[in-house]
Every structure is written in structure tokens, then in C-alpha cells.
């Protein structure tokens, strides 16, 4: 269970921090351009954070006590494949969900 004090600190802190990031250049720094090396690193934030966040969840899901699970592994692979081929987020989510439920039905 998530602690309620921690939760509110995170909500308020994340809200303020996200606003600061969005306001940064528009509000304070103005029209001066960012150094190229900073922009170059910022371009990779999404692909640098999100894969690392979910890799353990895919390999060692808590719902199966940390044991690799064929249904979840298949669902992850299908989501990735559909996403790469269609470049469509919704299609990938639906593909992954169908694979997950299909595999769980077949295995059970």
C-alpha cells in the first residue's frame, strides 16, 4: 500500500517540477538557444528511462512471484512488434492485450 504522505509529496512535487520543466525556457530563459550537447541528450530521455523501468516488470512480474511468465513475455513481444511495424500506440496496446489474454486463456 502506498503511504498517503509520500503520495501527496510526490503529487505536489511532481506537479511543481513538471511545471518548472515546461516553464523553463518559455518563461525564464527566453529566446537564447540551448547548447547542442544538451539537446542531443534530451532527445533520448524517453528511450533511456522507460525501457529500464519496464524491463524488470516484463522479466520478473510481481504477480507471478517474480517468475518469468510465458503469457506476459509473449504480450510484451507482440506489443513491441506491433508498435514497431505500425508506429501506432493504440494498435500496439490492443495487440499486447489480445496476446496477454489469449495466452492466459491457452495456458489455463
Amino acid at each position: 500500500m502506498i503511504d498517503s504522505t509520500q503520495l501527496w509529496i510526490v503529487i505536489l512535487g511532481l506537479g511543481a517540477g513538471s511545471f518548472a520543466l515546461r516553464f523553463s525556457f518559455l518563461g525564464i530563459i527566453g529566446k537564447r538557444p540551448l547548447p547542442e550537447w544538451v539537446l542531443r541528450h534530451l532527445r533520448y530521455t524517453a528511450v533511456a528511462v522507460l525501457p529500464g523501468l519496464i524491463a524488470p516488470l516484463v522479466l520478473w512480474p510481481a504477480a507471478t512471484g517474480g517468475e518469468p511468465d510465458p503469457a506476459r513475455l509473449t504480450a510484451a513481444a507482440v506489443t513491441l512488434l506491433v508498435g514497431i511495424t505500425t508506429r501506432n500506440v493504440l494498435a500496439a496496446i490492443f495487440g499486447g492485450a489480445i496476446a496477454l489474454y489469449g495466452m492466459m486463456y491457452l495456458i489455463s
Binding site: 510526490v10 517540477g17 525556457f25 518559455l26 532527445r43 533511456a48 525501457p51 512480474p61 508498435g83 496496446i93
Partner: protein
């Protein structure tokens, strides 16, 4: 006539933003469901979507709090997910930077993936638009997307309590994130950064306080940036 052209710019923005309802709708419902599953009540779930208004960072924070990560790590990692917002802010500044401060503050709050994407593309096409036309377009694009984010979060939070565990909703976050990542893997540096992130996160999973993820993210960003640099040097004569 400035007011008439601002009006048409607003509606053009509205029309360009509207298709994103298809993405924002299910994504917001999913956040409401996942937050409720994690034990958040309606007020807490709604506060999350209204204060933060950034899906990926919200999912990240919920996941890390469920893993009992310390507050500072939760904030640092979720904010790292949102670092791209600083890039959006920098990209919009040449177009909207001369607006009054209160308008810039409103624009900043509503700077999300969708409003940034359509506005950046539009301002590139029509650089001769006036400031008021550009602002009208931006808020036009925001109108269908952001209020809907609150509404669908609320729907998900209500529906969430009714969904039994057989539906394996624990896997909603991994599937959603994989679906977001896959279309981003469009260049070799992106693929290398992604692979680095996975390898480092798994090998540093033993590091306490979920610090392994931050190590992985920093390493992956450096690999992506370096790979881009090396590729561009090779292409240049």
C-alpha cells in the same frame, strides 16, 4: 482582421488536436484504473492528473511507489521521464516567447506531447502567423486533449474498483510503455539507447532505492547522444 484570423487559427488547432482523443482517452482511463488498483482514492487520482498532466510520468511514479522506492527517487525518476517537456518549452519559445507572462504560464501548464507536436509542426509551416494566431492555435489544440485527460482519469478511477484480478492489470503499465517506446525506435541511436537502458537496468536491479534505473537512464542517454554524434561525423564529408 486579427480577431477573425485568430478564431480560424483556434479552430484549426482544435481540428488538429482532436484525433489525439483516440490516444488520450484509453491512456487516461488506464491511469485511473492503475491508480485505483494501487490504492489511490478518487481525490488522489484526480489530483495526480490535474497537477502533473503527463501520463508517462504519472505511471512511473505510481509504479515506483508500489515498489516502495524512497520519495526522492520517485520524484527524480518521474521528472527524468518529463525532461522532454524542457525540450518542448525550448522549441516553443521562439514562437510564443513574447506573449505576456500569465499567458506563458498557461501555455507552460498545457505543454503536453500532443499540443507541442501539432503546434511545432504548424508554426514551422506558417512562420508568418501573428503571435495571437499562434497562441489561439495552441489553445485550440489543447481544448479537445487536456480537459478530456481529467474526464477519462475519473472514468478509469470509477471503473477500476470493479475490475477483478484475473484481468492481469498489473501488466497494463508494461504494455502501455512498450507501446509508447516502440514507435520511438526510429534511428540506430534510439535503438542503442533503449538496449543500454534495458541491460543496465537489469544488471543494476540489485542497487538499493531503485537507483539502478537512474544509472541506466543516464548511461542510455549518453550512449544515444554519443551514437548520434558518431553517425553524423561519419556521414559528413
Amino acid at each position: 482582421m486579427a480577431s477573425a484570423s485568430s478564431k480560424s487559427a483556434y479552430w484549426k488547432g482544435f481540428k488538429d488536436g482532436a484525433p489525439f482523443l483516440l490516444v488520450v482517452g484509453p491512456f487516461g482511463v488506464l491511469f485511473g484504473v492503475v491508480a485505483t488498483e494501487a490504492g489511490l482514492n478518487i481525490t488522489e487520482t484526480m489530483a495526480f492528473s490535474i497537477m502533473v498532466i503527463a501520463g508517462a510520468a504519472q505511471f512511473t511514479a505510481i509504479q515506483l511507489m508500489q515498489d516502495e522506492a524512497p520519495t526522492l527517487i520517485v520524484l527524480a525518476t518521474a521528472l527524468a521521464v518529463n525532461l522532454r517537456m524542457a525540450m518542448y518549452s525550448a522549441a516553443l519559445t521562439p514562437h510564443l516567447g513574447s506573449a505576456p507572462l500569465w499567458q506563458r504560464a498557461c501555455i507552460a501548464y498545457f505543454t503536453v506531447d500532443q499540443s507541442y507536436a501539432v503546434s511545432a509542426a504548424q508554426f514551422e509551416k506558417t512562420p508568418d502567423w501573428t503571435l495571437s494566431q499562434k497562441i489561439a492555435y495552441f489553445f485550440g489544440a489543447v481544448t479537445p486533449v487536456c480537459p478530456m485527460w481529467y474526464v477519462v482519469t475519473w472514468i478509469g478511477a470509477y471503473a477500476g474498483t470493479a475490475i477483478p484480478p484475473e484481468f492481469a492489470l498489473d501488466f497494463a503499465i508494461p504494455i502501455t510503455f512498450l507501446a509508447i517506446i516502440a514507435p520511438l525506435l526510429r534511428t540506430l541511436p534510439h535503438v542503442l539507447a533503449c538496449a543500454t537502458s534495458v541491460i543496465l537496468a537489469l544488471s543494476f536491479a540489485w542497487v538499493p532505492y531503485n537507483l539502478g534505473l537512474l544509472i541506466a537512464a543516464l548511461g542510455a542517454m549518453m550512449v544515444g547522444a554519443q551514437a548520434e554524434l558518431m553517425l553524423s561525423r561519419r556521414i559528413k564529408p
